[in-house]
Symmetry: C2
Subunit: 395 residues, 2 copies
């Protein structure tokens, strides 16, 4: 046996998602890529903003001496300082570079955080529907994932959380705007969440970290303001990336930010730096650190994503789909007209529309649509959604 | 307690190296950076080759559509194919893109490999002096490091290896050219190593992987040819990077290559791809993948490094230091004139020369010099080496 038991188990469990992708690839090969409407991946169709192109060109034409060498494992002080300035602006809390560690994307950030804080068997609470990778990240570092439900709007139920937190609870992961649902948590919610966690810390005499995955923080609609957890809970750790806000998912650039008033902050940040190194990330890619330093206030066109959301949401609702209107990110998570979401996703495939079954996010009976695609793909998918709806919807 | 027991232990054990660095930083601050001769880090002084600059400029000026998006977790097929072509040329073994997974440097490669193959408690054999990070990488994935000695030329002793391999042995890590010693293993050695591993696999009915860390493969002197393990052992896995050969350590770009005839190769490579994703690397940085695709046959000026080696080696020997002449990489690993290598390194610090105690590499009684620095630093360090030698050498 060439791979470990744990890896084999992970691969087998993920194999039906993989099967879907492989079937999608076969469809693309058979019918031509332009005839398949692939809404399965969160791979933004937009190019990075012009400001990104400008910075990259500047560095390519006038390289800084030593700009591809190792730097400290936390990243360039100048980049960390630029992130701190922007976060301070957004949250009203005073960050310095000492609160920031640059990472290989949000995935790198979350792994570094979990590696740093988890002892074997420590529990991490997450909410279904969830980003499926969380399970792997927790397992990588010998933690135990504990999954709690959300309400019909995909907002965590605080009563369930109160009952679910125990003496082994080391962290709670939230993700707003949410992948896969597009839900955005309100200020009132994060306020209550902070209070609950403080209460539970006091009850058990433990330290409970709130890990806020903010990969979609800037992709938010309808004029909503982002409700940061930071003002409401000092044991907060942010993991995020520029994959979505600057449309750079392949470049693996993101950061960890820890609340400046977090207890034992220095030890914690030292732990992050140590784990960034020893997990083999070593540091966030140097060139991207140089570039994003100047782009902290820049974001792709969120209006474009909102138009795509409006277009698709309105039509799906017209067709009879039951969908909670997403307020951010670029996913929609409709109820599957068939109870068996895998069967329904297979039906959509017959109409050359690729989506992902809700089961992949801990939420059977739903399916995920990624609408960060070009308009042609979105428009082309409508026939398939219509036909599948007609087949299974009573309406 | 904010960090886990394991991370705390790692941080405490590494803290005296850290202390050295911090003292170095204080010295630089006090006396000015130009007056401190820092030979402590393997951070190449050279800029990347002109071909790199050209490719980067081309992409910055004429971006490919979607060049910063996600690609498959294994990396771009075109880049994997380019690596395969070059490896085939160098080794005479026919690689295809299916044998290659692009990674976030060699550190990423080694973590992905170990995560993929290790069950808890599996043993990984490595040889002292070793690259200190190996211990962390093995520990990350619940493996057990087993350290074996080398001979007076820093070559692993095959008798000890034969006695050291047991039924729990899952892998052997070698590193030639070696960090910290500069030793380069001969063809005869890798041939015998392959035979021994095959014999032990047969004896125990196990599968033993030979993990070859080839980060310094192209940095080799005296007209030597690199002796690849590939022709001698099919269960070989290469982890490497372009950090040293293209002077890009901050960019985190490297790859895993598995022997095309490795048993269960497909499952193994699927495991690597899965772990590249789930460990949070996701993929090797996209832009660097585009660039290095065209640079597989390009290397920094090795002659420059050889000149630096010759310069420093000759002078250290003249001063009475006992040094095994390095045949590759850009490190030297002299015997410490004082039995206590930490004390000797502290003595060198008094003369404003920064090096690393051998203890950090599992080899007390030695110290490591990095000579990938500019000539001014190298020349400036000589007085300190001379004074320290006079103080402690009998000669």
């Amino acid at each position: 046996m060439s791979v470990s038991d744990r890896v084999r188990k992970g691969m087998v469990e993920g194999s039906w998602i993989r099967k879907m992708f492989e079937e999608g690839a076969i469809l693309k090969h058979r019918y031509g890529e332009e005839n398949i409407f692939d809404l399965s991946l969160g791979n933004p169709v937009m190019e990075p903003p012009v400001e990104f192109r400008r910075e990259l060109k500047k560095l390519a034409e006038h390289p800084l001496p030593g700009m591809h060498r190792y730097m400290g494992n936390a990243g360039y002080p100048e980049t960390r300082a630029a992130v701190a300035v922007q976060l301070s602006l957004e949250t009203g809390i005073k960050f310095t570079l000492n609160d920031i560690v640059m990472t290989c994307g949000a995935a790198g950030a979350l792994n570094v955080v979990l590696k740093t804080i988890l002892n074997p068997g420590d529990e991490v609470i997450m909410f279904a529907p969830y980003f499926v990778e969380y399970r792997h990240y927790i397992d990588n570092h010998n933690g135990v994932a504990r999954v709690l439900p959300t309400d019909e709007q995909f907002i965590p139920r605080l009563n369930d959380l109160e009952a679910g937190i125990g003496v082994k609870t080391r962290a709670v992961i939230i993700n707003s705007p949410n992948n896969p649902t597009g839900a955005v948590y309100s200020e009132d919610f994060v306020h209550q969440l902070g209070e609950l966690l403080r209460k539970k810390e006091a009850q058990y005499g433990t330290q409970i970290f709130l890990i806020s995955d903010e990969a979609y923080r800037k992709i938010i609609y309808d004029g909503l303001e982002y409700s940061s957890v930071l003002p409401y809970y000092t044991q907060s750790i942010i993991g995020t990336s520029h994959s979505k806000d600057l449309a750079l998912p392949g470049e693996r650039i993101g950061y960890i930010a820890v609340h400046p008033d977090c207890s034992q902050r220095d030890e914690l940040v030292d732990g992050f730096i140590f784990c960034n190194r020893t997990l083999g990330y070593v540091n966030a890619p140097a060139l991207m650190q140089h570039v994003v330093r100047h782009l902290q206030s820049v974001t792709v066109s969120v209006a474009e994503y909102q138009q795509k959301r409006d277009f698709l949401y309105d039509r799906l609702v017209d067709m009879g789909y039951s969908v909670v209107k997403p307020r951010g990110a670029f996913y929609m998570f409709p109820k599957s007209p068939l109870e068996d979401d895998i069967a329904f996703v297979a039906e959509l495939q017959q109409w050359k529309v690729l989506t992902v079954p809700g089961r992949g996010f801990g939420a059977p009976g739903y399916f995920r649509i990624s609408y960060c695609v070009d308009d042609r793909t979105l428009e082309g998918s409508l026939t398939g959604f219509q036909k599948a709806a007609q087949k299974f919807n009573s309406c």
